[in-house]
Symmetry: C2
Subunit: 318 residues, 2 copies
């Protein structure tokens, strides 16, 4: 008998990553899509196409798990709200079941990433885990005593929308708040701070890239920081400090054993995590701050996909 | 057979409230103590004396529940850390069992207050509840799907030490942080803002009280606000706004059905809660912000004592 396989889809704020995942969490037949910036219909079409592409390669895949950047209603799998995709009020799970003719399981993208890191990644063995995914935005996932925390209906664990500076910069997308962790420590924030540093420091590599016409993104700042540009390193240190304030809050609020940091911006590695750890050591309450480990994600950019597959494997990928 | 009774003690940051509590949550034989500002030994003596006083009135009381303003280790009932009493590293439960010769159950003071409001108070019927106690500091208690959330070892739910302004004023007691909700929205913060307003606005009733030699405390500001003093009302409105930023964070992080606000500072009532509700409506994410009710505590200053008694009644008051 061949091992049971499912399709995992991580439909993040800027791109989709999918694949066919077996019970040992081996991944094959990867699929990738960038959003074409479209409306609700186009976003749903892209997801369906991606599933169909994976399914063509693995017709035995018995069910589909999908992570979306939304507040997902636990009971119905509906997308109640999304800051980054036009998915507000979409009966997502039912709609996907109908279009795909397969069992479909849906949760928030950072929730499923947390599930992957908890079960088989950087937080294996811990029972109390918090995951932050640093990308365009910041997603949050919380494992409480071995189970995903979802809140009253499924909208909980939006850790990116925890304010750390009440008079800070406006948040992004459809979030009405300001000074959210997402506004201060996401990949987008790294890009914004990098652009400001480029303007301020004409001798920096950042400024040179800007003069050569490149857009200052979080990824570029991170690359230049690894290459040793002092201005870019300063940006990661500052942003890492904000991240540390957020993680200190998480330590005081949840007392986790492990905080896993993933998403594209974790490419900064210790250039981002070391300043964050220093701030947690300085600002969080003992003894919780001494208990917690702050570590990069094991599954990197595939945590969401693997976690989405786990959702399907868990919930009955018959 | 007479109903089972236990002793409940709320040993808060500034004072102790205790009583004999029966299974119907009727309270008799209340005891009160103010800390004499002493060291560890004196604090422990005061607690023992208070229990003995209640016990003298109700010799049938079978066990004791105690809430303390500490991070309490779940397994051992030890006080791992306290911002407001000299109880760091005290094997509190074992020590009290030995001195009292009775079964003793211990938890964080705001945790037990949350338990009381959830079981029999303002949050009855809800499954996801957050409690904030606004006094000298701010305590937090979280009920997740009907159970107290404690974190990995018991140090979780320190919601007062969630930063909402990373460059804000230093926090209090032994907290090393700054801009914590406690530093911005506690009774102490109301007093501090009131003193600043008194200095700024010589025509205000606040300034008049100051000239007459009274200390500007949170309680005095609240009293003057109820009397209609505009400066005092402004203080409550501003502090209520900070409280709203903190509750918006709580809404995004936990998605509770009810947030209960208790502690001495809730004497401000809607003068404090209305500005908080307005900020939550403006800044928290839909639909979580539309689900949540933000209400004053039912048990007022006795929530901690009743909750401590519940702990004892639950966990085996023989």
């Amino acid at each position: 008998m061949s091992p049971r396989r499912v399709i995992g889809i991580d439909a993040g704020g800027t791109k989709l990553v999918g694949g066919v995942v077996d019970e040992g969490l081996g991944v094959r037949h990867r699929v990738h899509r960038l959003w074409r910036g479209g409306d609700r219909g186009e976003v749903l079409d892209v997801i369906v196409e991606a599933v169909e592409e994976a399914r063509a390669a693995a017709p035995d895949a018995a069910s589909v798990g999908i992570g979306i950047p939304s507040l997902v209603e636990r009971e119905t799998g509906a997308s109640m709200f999304s800051t980054h995709l036009p998915l507000e009020g979409v009966p997502f799970r039912d709609l996907m079941r109908e279009r795909l003719g397969l069992p479909v399981y849906v949760d928030n993208d950072a929730n499923v990433a947390a599930l992957a890191e908890f079960r088989a990644g950087a937080a294996q063995g811990a029972r109390h885990v918090v995951m932050l995914t640093l990308g365009t935005g910041i997603g949050g996932g919380v494992i409480v005593d071995g189970r995903l925390y979802r809140g009253a209906r499924g909208g909980g664990a939006e850790l990116g929308h925890m304010v750390i500076d009440e008079d800070g910069p406006p948040c992004q997308g459809a979030c009405p708040n300001r000074g959210c962790l997402e506004a201060m420590a996401s990949g987008t924030a790294i890009g914004r701070e990098g652009a400001a540093a480029a303007a301020r420091e004409p001798e920096s590599a950042l400024a040179r890239e800007l003069r050569e016409g490149r857009e200052i993104t979080g990824a570029l700042v991170t690359e230049l920081a690894h290459d040793g540009d002092a201005a870019a390193r300063d940006v990661l240190e500052r942003v890492g400090g904000h991240l540390g304030v957020g993680i200190a809050n998480i330590v005081n609020v949840f007392e986790p054993e492990v905080v896993v940091v993933g998403g594209g911006a974790i490419a900064g590695g210790d250039l981002l995590l070391e300043p964050a750890r220093a701030v947690v050591a300085e600002r969080a309450l003992p003894p919780s701050r001494d208990l917690v480990r702050i570590v990069p994600a094991h599954f990197g950019g595939e945590a969401g996909m693997v976690g989405a597959a786990l959702l399907a494997l868990d919930e009955g990928g018959v």
